[in-house]
């Protein structure tokens, strides 16, 4: 079986995988990173989003082998030294999550959005989040949280 090597949440990992092994399977089953969820089988729901070299991708439709040499960040890797990432903090403060199942994907998606567009409008946030389903929150507080996180990140950058 082929070997794959990548950096996941700052740690170098390697393992033998089948050609068909998906990135999400590698993360969940091999590395025990169960924060990345599988919510559908058609690449629609976004529960499985992770950052690959800083860009959000659906790990349910990415082969582990495609990530050879890549830098992968999962939801477990966003907080540093126990300090929540501003997007995570904003989701908490604005009640942007309920059952928590879509949350990792939503947070990862928002991080990607804000790295591309630090000052999005509400409409831009809603449009960007099209690839992520949430059945609990009605999106209202998720959008609020992303806008609040954007403002905080801009402030951090300015300081």
């Amino acid at each position: 079986m082929p070997q794959v090597r990548m950096v996941v949440n700052g740690r170098e990992v390697a393992g033998e995988v089948e050609g068909r092994t998906l990135l999400v399977e590698f993360l969940r089953e091999r590395l025990g990173l169960t924060g990345t969820h599988v919510g559908c089988d058609t690449s629609q729901c976004g529960c499985c989003l992770v950052l690959v070299d800083g860009v959000s991708v659906k790990s349910c439709t990415t082969l582990a082998l495609q990530c050879e040499g890549a830098n992968v960040t999962t939801i477990e890797g966003l907080a540093s030294d126990g300090e929540l990432h501003p997007v995570q903090r904003a989701f908490h403060e604005h009640h942007g999550l309920q059952c928590g199942f879509c949350t990792p994907g939503m947070v990862i998606s928002a991080v990607d959005l804000l790295s591309r567009n630090p000052d999005p409008t509400e409409a831009e946030v809603r449009s960007w989040l099209e690839g992520n389903f949430c059945r609990c929150t009605g999106y209202h507080n998720i959008v609020k949280a992303v806008l609040a996180a954007a403002a905080e990140l801009r402030q951090q950058k300015a300081a």
Partner: protein, 789 residues
Amino acid sequence: MVAKGIGAAVPRKEDRRFLTGRGRYTDDIHLPGEVHAVFVRSPHAHARILRIDKGPALAVPGVLAVLTGEDVAADGLGHLVCGWLVKSKDGSPMRMGKHPLLAQGKVRYVGDRVACVVAETLAAARDGAEALVVEYEELPAVTSLAEAEKAPVAVHEEAPDNVVYDWELGDRAAVEEAFAKAHRVVAVDLVNNRLVPNAMEPRAAIGVWDPGTDGYTLYLTSQNPHVHRLVISAFVGIAPEHKLRVVAPDVGGGFGSKIFVYGEECVVLWASRKVGGRPVRWREERSEAFLADAHGRDHLTHAELALDAEGHFLALRVSTRANLGAYMSTFSSCIPTYLYATLLAGQYRTPAIYAEVKALYTNTTPVDAYRGAGRPEASFLVETLVEEAARVLGIDRAEIRRRNFIPKDAFPYQTPVALVYDTGDYATSLERALALADYAGFPARRAEAERRGRLRGIGISCYIEACGIAPSAVVGSLGAGVGLWESAEVRFTHTGKVQVLTGTHTHGQGHETTFSQLVAEALGVPFEDVEVIHGDTAGTPVGMGTYGSRSLAVGGEAILRACRKLIDKGRKIAAHLLEASEADIEFVDGAFRVKGTDRQKTIQEVAFTALVPHRYPPDLEPGFEASAYFDPPNFTFPAGTYVCEVEVDPDTGRVSIEKFVAVDDFGRVINPLVVEGQVHGGLVQGIGQALLEQAVYDPSGQLLTGSFMDYAMPRADDVPAFVVEFAPGTAAAANSMGVKGCGEAGAIGAPAAVINALTDAIGVRVEMPATPEKVWRALHGRRLAQAAE
């Protein structure tokens, strides 16, 4: 006063684990030696199983077992049950077919469970499922609710015409009399579209049989682990109740779909014994969820409202057909009856109401409770008729409601459909919602939209629901098989920390936070010192679970009652320590104090004394914990007004929601942040029903909307930001907190608000979901007709 007590918008304590990827859902749990299960499902809507050849599947390397309905029968296991007996008009009991764990002889819907393949790996189990040979003889199928009664097909032999029951409620004679005298009658024919709940976490289960103890453990996605334990033990018969532990860890949303006892979860538990006690795990694919999770709604209704010349409602007559699918799911029988027709009074004084409901089998996925369950169907019907009446009589849609509201001094109010509303103030919610929506300014906005070539409409929905389910004696007299009380236990540790054990289950509702606030307030302890424990039958008191907006109104009250028992005990201990009489001890801000002095013992000191009883009242038991059960004397009745404003693009038929105002009377609100979140979520499910979602079967019984590619779930850019406000609120009478429940309101009230706004915009009512195509056709058809005139 306690910081983070009742009324504080405290961000949730459960958030951190979910935000950092440390949630622990069923599929995140791994046990040593575990193996994998895959279900083989029927590709046909109706067929006889002629032969199953397990050989090729068992030959696949890694396959350990192939289990079928015959094996289930050979092991003497029972069937799934429907826990509520509904009787027909003639007094006969509902005609229920058998609901086996795995199909026996026949399959009755696409997705029906035929066999379970257990293997060392998921891939091997899938290969085994693929290799299994099942020969079917296809039978004609009936998938349309409209045709179910006349179809030459019986889904179950117990119900030859597919009618499960033909039920009625209300005074038929009084209604006929009122209709005979009516000035005007308005009528509507309504489709309440079939929905797929689609909690984001698919169902999953891990079954474990321990050969050492002969005990069983089932981890699963459940809203009510004790209900699962009861049914699996008492009816399915896999294990006696005391040898079965059911664990529902973090659960990723339910909306009703995880109340029910399904076959898959039972089979993996039983299968563990078949493979010598190795844990058997299963997680459904989303496409399985579409086929196999109970669907919601699916009614066809004809309804008529009789009015006098001033627009007063005289009587309401309703005839509904409800689709139950191919089998009767756990609570399916009570949804289109006792949770539906009992709400047909809405917020109004309609003096006479009669409803008849025919429930029918079809060769489709079973239908059961989905967020709101019966109450959205009732509210949609009433609020559609009310706006229709306003249009026909030329009365303003807000005014006709004002004229018919049950006035706030008329409570408690006995409706003609069994319920007694305890409190309410409907006019206040309506007026506030109209103000927030700038109802008066609507004509100008409509004119402005018209200049841009857009059609703008406004719609109102004044919903009511019965929550806090439920008074046991009442539901028992109506056919329920269980009591619907709730339980709690509150324990102090030596170090003054508090454990709260509840029989309810949180899967997004934020109980860990809300219940902590409740206990912090009641016992005067820090919010952070309270831990809420739920979801494991081995560690929590028996409870009936979470649905019907009951957890706070029923479960919260049980917690409070346990707290009060602790305070009573604490008073005795403090009196002993302070050498005072018990009558002189008051409990204030977390301390027992001798009245009029500063001599006191904190509740933590008292708890410590009770656990280290070196200086202790001689006749008192040690320990500082209490348990309580609460059986509510009545339902609670959350109510409110939603106002929706839409704009339609006549060229595309696309409907966009420009503004949505929600004013709800939930009684007392414990955590406004959490409650607003519940409203937002409900609203989007309601908007989804109105504009986007529908499960569609083709005539052969194939589910055409079998994935997120075909079933339109609301996305972030399909919905607006909401204006949500709580009405000043009337306190519920059924519990000491005055809370009413908030989880279902949005899904109940939103569909009528959206559709009424759309009807106002385009002048014709479009059935849900009002997709661009339907709206465009409605507009186009009308214009063509006008041109022809």
